[in-house]
């Protein structure tokens, strides 16, 4: 599969949006060359503010700009813009429901060598805990561009979580994205794999292998963690009778927890989970860490098989 950088796509899309909408203002916290807001900064220096190493202040500034009618994009690494700023996100953005778009790059353990201090694996639980936030984890660069554009169109606080490394491209350029509406990537009747972000490509890979063993898996890209596409989940549960959820996040509070809540309430079926459990990772190459932490296509495959035994 071809690969492309989601953050580079974000940066270029943001610059395009800057040409289309004069009200867009972008804030960054000394990470512009990495978050790729640098494209926007170069083209629109008057509408770009580097807030330095002041993430909490940056969220407050974003709120003040948004309350004054600006459409504000805020970027930093996922770890800093979630954990460090939670109180600010809550009081300044979520409670007044301001029009601020957090684009958090460097999510998950695939940040790699920088180690566990830089691995945002609690971020989705935190963002999903905030009322009014739309939380999106795009599967690839094509979906990233579409999600960023939709965030610019729709009023309200958004979090879009991207990755450091390049991500396999799973969509063609004509892909139609709607936030909150899951995408069935592959039909199947024996079980459903629900995935987000980098795990979508791995879910597809697992489904291919399982197909050769006569296990017919549906694969659903649940790009929007909040609001969740409950209809797609209930359909998957009732039509396939088993669900495996996979994500680059701790077990608690992310996609797995959220899907399980719907399944338990609406259509209980056996479930499996492929995630980071309840522990931190370490330094290493992204692929090495994914292997070590059990986030490979093979891990997804095994989870499907073991979940099917409980069907």
């Amino acid at each position: 599969m071809a690969e492309a950088s989601t953050r580079e796509t974000y940066g270029k899309t943001l610059a395009e949006l800057g040409r289309e909408n004069e009200d867009i203002v972008v804030l960054d916290a000394d990470l512009s060359p990495s978050t790729m807001t640098s494209f926007f900064a170069r083209e629109f220096p008057g509408r770009f503010f580097d807030c330095g190493l002041q993430e909490q202040n940056m969220i407050g500034i974003a709120a003040g700009l948004a309350a004054s009618g600006k459409l504000v994009f805020v970027s930093s690494f996922a770890i800093f813009v979630s954990c460090r700023c939670f109180d600010q996100l809550r009081l300044c953005l979520s409670q007044p429901r301001l029009n601020v778009k957090i684009v958090a790059t460097h999510g998950g353990i695939t940040v790699g060598e920088d180690g566990s201090s830089h691995h945002a694996i609690e971020d989705l639980a935190l963002f999903c805990a905030l009322p009014g936030f739309t939380v999106i984890v795009p599967a690839d660069a094509v979906e990233t561009a579409a999600a960023v554009r939709q965030a610019a169109r729709d009023y309200g606080p958004f979090c879009i979580r991207l990755s450091r490394p390049k991500t396999p491209v799973v969509y063609s350029e004509d892909y139609q994205f709607t936030s909150g509406r899951a995408v069935t990537m592959r039909q199947g009747k024996d079980a459903t794999i629900i995935a987000a972000g980098i795990m979508v490509a791995k879910a597809l890979e697992a489904a291919d292998v399982l197909a050769r063993q006569n296990i017919d898996c549906r694969v659903v890209n649940m790009h929007t963690l909040k609001p969740l596409d409950e209809t797609a989940i209930v359909k998957a549960a009732s039509e396939t009778g088993a669900i495996v959820v996979t994500e680059e996040h701790l077990a608690q509070g992310g996609l797995g927890s959220r899907v399980a809540q719907v399944v338990a309430r609406e259509e209980p079926v056996p479930m499996g989970f492929v995630n980071l459990g309840d522990s931190y990772a370490s330094s290493g190459k992204a692929d090495e860490l994914l292997q070590r932490c059990g986030l490979t296509a093979r891990d997804v495959e095994e989870a499907v098989r073991s979940t099917l035994k409980r069907k």
Binding site: R47, G52, G60, I61, A63, G64, A66, R90, C92
Partner: protein
């Protein structure tokens, strides 16, 4: 007017049975000058785009802000009696979702100056001439974010922004000098690149002059360090730590109102 606002604060918090009267009373004169001498606003159109912005960062002083907003015509004075009650627009801490005229939701301290920096930057981007005022408590200057915001306001040369610190010297559990000393205080702001003006925060003339002087300062923000007395105007509340976060009883309220006649 300042006396009238103080009377509202006493009545509101006594009726609610909870709240923070001390920090409302210390800010009463500052708020009076702002709302009735300085700020440009249209109470019938709270979202008027050219209005001056007043940001209450010390969100627990909501009663004094509500009193001023009512007297300024944003809503009726009778609504003040609903403070902190279920379904009231007057929340325990200032909340922009509920109350016309409240620019920012506050209550977790140290965030208002950051918000004000954003509002000031927006004025510049939109070529607006409105001014932005943020009222901070001295206690919340213990929060690191306040100093992040102070750095950034000076960095962005926001001369359309003025911060006012209600320096009453008392926080919830005691004197700031004992809990987390802020001194030398004005010098800190100066070192952060701000123009500073120290005043008696209960002298209406000094307060007004300070705001007028701040408007003349170019290329940097101004902080007005208003030396105040917590609980000002009510003898048994003045400099009394207990009334930071405790409402007066009905009896205490009656005594207080008598003093404020």
């Amino acid at each position: 007017m300042a006396r009238r606002l103080r009377r509202h604060v006493i009545t509101m918090t006594a009726t609610a049975g909870s709240g923070h009267p001390g920090g409302s009373l210390s800010a009463a004169d500052i708020i009076t000058v702002l709302y009735f001498k300085v700020l440009r606003y249209k109470s019938e159109n709270p979202q008027w785009s050219d209005r001056d912005r007043f940001i209450l960062s010390k969100g627990h002083a909501a009663p004094i802000l509500y009193a001023a907003l009512a007297e300024a015509g944003y809503f009726s004075v009778s609504e003040l009696a609903t403070l902190r009650k279920l379904d009231s627009r007057l929340q325990g801490h200032a909340d922009s979702k509920f109350t016309p005229g409240v620019e920012m939701s506050a209550g977790s301290l140290g965030m208002g100056l950051s918000f004000a920096v954003g509002v000031g930057l927006a004025a510049r981007l939109n070529s607006k001439t409105y001014r932005t005022y943020a009222l901070l408590s001295d206690g919340e200057c213990e929060e690191g974010q306040t100093w992040e915001a102070a750095l950034s306001a000076a960095h962005f040369k926001l001369d359309n922004l003025a911060a006012i610190v209600d320096y009453n010297g008392i926080q919830l559990s005691g004197w700031t000098r004992d809990i987390m000393n802020l001194e030398p205080f004005s010098q800190k702001w100066q070192a952060f690149g701000w123009h500073t003006i120290d005043i008696d925060g209960h002298d209406l003339g000094q307060i007004l002059s300070a705001f007028q002087a701040a408007e003349e300062i170019r290329s940097r923000p101004t902080v007005i360090v208003a030396h105040t007395i917590k609980g000002k105007g009510v003898s048994f509340m003045e400099n009394n730590v207990a009334f930071h976060g405790k409402a007066p009883t009905q009896q205490e309220a009656e005594r207080a109102l008598k003093e404020l006649e």
